[in-house]
């Protein structure tokens, strides 16, 4: 995939934050807030796939829902196709839904169980007032075929499908109106390995065919690497590293990326299992994130400076960016590659 350098990004987030408040206690000291997304800046070019990886609670799903404005943004700025959509109201955002869609982890939860698949797929057309009845029917069967199902499946109910097929329906619905951007939140993590591969392949084909732009959110590094051009690694609400999908995992610059990479069990044999770069302890509570670098409590390289100052995401000449005071350089020493 070639990307013209002069191209404008399809999606641009600037210092985007999402804060959840919890506890309705009368005492202010008992009220808590979580920076689910903490000043995240990113750009997604047209036709590109940006992968977002991180462990549970890192804020990747919140970020995904902010990027499609399924939830409100606490602060920062979000532009879609050159237009500021940060503060658009629900009504103003509706026409934009045609252009940005989401696919979720659990397709069953997002498909109304009492309606036939054909109805579910026709819904986007009806909502946006597109096409006559017969035309919609044609489009629905075309959609079903396109995602690898048969047109007679339109008459069935969601529960009659397997997990993989339900996810195909979810994708079909998201694609119905030919969106420009598709944000997929863990679209394959609930599926069996063999089905996972089918869905990844399908998403890749659809991207080529419709010139789609993806934001692909997952916890599985290999899956993210397979489908993404670039990858952003998140930790405690912040992006700690961004770069080319191959490079980020083969030569991680942020210690957390490396930990993540080495923790992933690989389905192949090693002459001798290399020592893993160990992380200390558990994820800190998002209610009281550590000051300075969010990773310093678990980082093997942490020095005093990390605790004092939060490192900024700095872009290097080769286009990779890392938020670390002491970035790792070169290939990592375990020799996995």
């Amino acid at each position: 995939m070639t990307m013209a350098t002069a191209q404008k990004p399809l999606l641009r987030a600037t210092k985007l934050s999402k804060i959840y408040k919890s506890g309705r206690s009368l005492l202010p000291s008992r009220r808590q807030q979580v920076h689910a997304v903490n000043e995240v800046s990113l750009e997604v070019m047209p036709g590109e796939t940006l992968g977002i990886v991180g462990e549970s609670g890192c804020g990747k799903s919140s970020l995904g829902r902010c990027l499609t404005r399924l939830q409100d943004i606490s602060s920062g700025r979000l532009e879609f196709d050159g237009r500021d959509i940060t503060d658009l109201s629900l009504r103003q955002i509706r026409p934009l839904r045609r252009e940005m869609q989401m696919v979720f982890q659990d397709p069953a939860a997002s498909l109304n169980a009492r309606r036939r698949v054909g109805d579910l797929l026709a819904e986007p057309f009806r909502i946006h007032g597109i096409g006559a009845r017969s035309e919609i029917e044609d489009r629905v069967s075309e959609l079903l075929r396109r995602v690898g199902l048969r047109s007679e499946h339109a008459l069935r109910f969601p529960h009659e499908f397997s997990g993989g097929q339900k996810q195909r329906i979810g994708i079909a619905r998201a694609l119905a109106l030919h969106p420009k951007l598709l944000v997929a939140d863990e679209p394959v993590s609930a599926l069996d390995v063999s089905i996972q591969a089918q869905i990844i392949n399908l998403l890749a084909e659809l991207r080529e065919e419709f010139g789609l732009t993806y934001v692909f959110i997952a916890h599985d590094l290999a899956v993210v690497r397979q489908i993404s051009n670039r990858v952003a690694v998140m930790y405690l609400g912040a992006i700690v590293e961004v770069g080319d999908a191959d490079e980020v995992f083969s030569t991680p610059r942020h210690p957390y990326t490396r930990v993540l990479r080495e923790a992933m069990p690989e389905p192949r044999l090693h002459a001798k299992r290399p020592e893993r770069a160990q992380v200390k302890g558990d994820l800190p509570s998002p209610f009281s994130p550590p000051p300075g670098c969010p990773f310093h409590t678990r980082c093997a390289f942490a020095k005093e400076r990390r605790e004092v100052q939060r490192p900024a995401l700095v872009k290097a000449a080769d286009g990779r960016a890392v938020a670390c005071h002491y970035p790792l350089d070169g290939p990592h020493p375990t020799g996995l590659a």
Partner: protein
């Protein structure tokens, strides 16, 4: 020591009567687990791997379940053992850990109390001594501040810590065999790595054997000695880990390996996914149950193929050895 495997499962069958007909969850599964050995049981959902484990532990209590076959543990037949006799083995000689540490601990008792309960069920030990042992065990599985954790409730611990606590409980009576049902699936990768390291360490420290049920070939690659690949209630391939990973023999295993995106090196344009979906266990296809999804299926596959092949590495496929040699994907760069 007499030559005898620690666990010998023979022709294990687990069927469930249901409205849709007979659900054949496990169909004639046989395998052995030796002492100090880690067996990986790999398969996708519905492959029967978890039911196999539950059957060994005597935990299938559905009134609609029909079990047959033989499960011999240390020479003793477990199948059909009365509850009282079974309870002298469960928790004492066979420990078990489950997939979701969030739900496998009783929410209203402290971690310490739950470990003490296991200890006192199987050993003549006082309350105080049991509590001390519990603290030692919590310490041994790498939980910091074990004494205070013993007095905490499950919801006060993180997922990784809870799974460690569950492992401490399963290991409390120093069992000869540990059954682990997807022990890391519910955990984050960094925590998963810690738990896998811990399970490996248990084998060394306690000398236990382990049956590790998982859908994740990566987890098997890291921990197991032997691998059984299951599909639709049967073992379709079994062998030492090296053999199965370097020269997988069954087309289903090939498909599984091909379905996993590589971690490094060039990315394939398409993953060689397995087409279709696993069969319904209440309506299995005739003959080889992988036949409808297999690219190499032919007429001979209408007969159920037996497990066959070179000594120690067998597969349930009718393809001749030469064809298998030719078609099998190879792993590069690995030892």
């Amino acid at each position: 020591m007499r030559f005898e495997p620690l666990l010998e499962v023979k022709d294990l069958t687990v069927h469930f009567r249901s409205e849709e007909g007979l659900v054949e969850a496990v169909r004639g599964v046989s395998f052995n687990v030796g002492r100090n050995e880690i067996l990986g049981l790999v398969g996708e959902s519905g492959s029967g791997k978890s039911q196999t484990l539950l059957a060994i532990m005597g935990l299938i209590d559905s009134p609609n379940a029909v079990l047959s076959g033989s499960i011999r543990f240390e020479g003793q037949e477990l199948m059909g053992l009365p509850r009282r006799a079974l309870d002298r083995i469960r928790g004492k000689k066979i420990g078990m850990i489950f997939q979701d540490p969030m739900t496998s601990l009783t929410p209203v008792h402290t971690i310490g109390a739950q470990i003490v309960e296991t200890l006192r069920a199987h050993e003549q030990i006082g309350r105080k001594a049991a509590k001390d042992r519990a603290v030692e065990l919590i310490d041994a599985v790498g939980i910091p501040a074990p004494r205070s954790v013993a007095d905490r409730y499950p919801h006060q611990l993180s997922g990784g810590m809870r799974q460690r606590a569950v492992i401490a409980m399963a290991m409390s009576c120093n069992p000869a065999l540990l059954l682990a049902d997807e022990p890391t699936t519910a955990l984050d990768v960094t925590v998963q790595a810690q738990i896998l390291d811990l399970i490996g360490k248990l084998r060394e420290d306690f000398g236990s054997s382990v049956i590790l049920v998982t859908h994740d070939l990566g987890v098997v690659a890291e921990t197991a000695d032997k691998v059984n690949v299951m599909y639709a209630g049967r073992i379709v391939e079994e062998g030492p880990k090296e053999a199965v990973f370097l020269q997988p023999r069954h087309p289903y295993s090939w498909g599984l390996f091909g379905s996993i995106p590589p971690f490094d090196g060039p990315r394939p344009a398409r993953l060689s996914a397995i087409p279709g979906a696993p069969p319904k266990l209440s309506a299995l296809p005739k003959g080889c149950s992988f036949r409808p999804r297999c690219p190499h299926a032919h007429d001979a596959c209408l007969q159920e193929p037996p497990l066959a092949g070179p000594v120690g590495h067998r597969s349930a496929c009718v393809l001749p050895d030469a064809a298998i040699e030719e078609l099998a994907p190879r792993q590069e760069g690995a030892a």
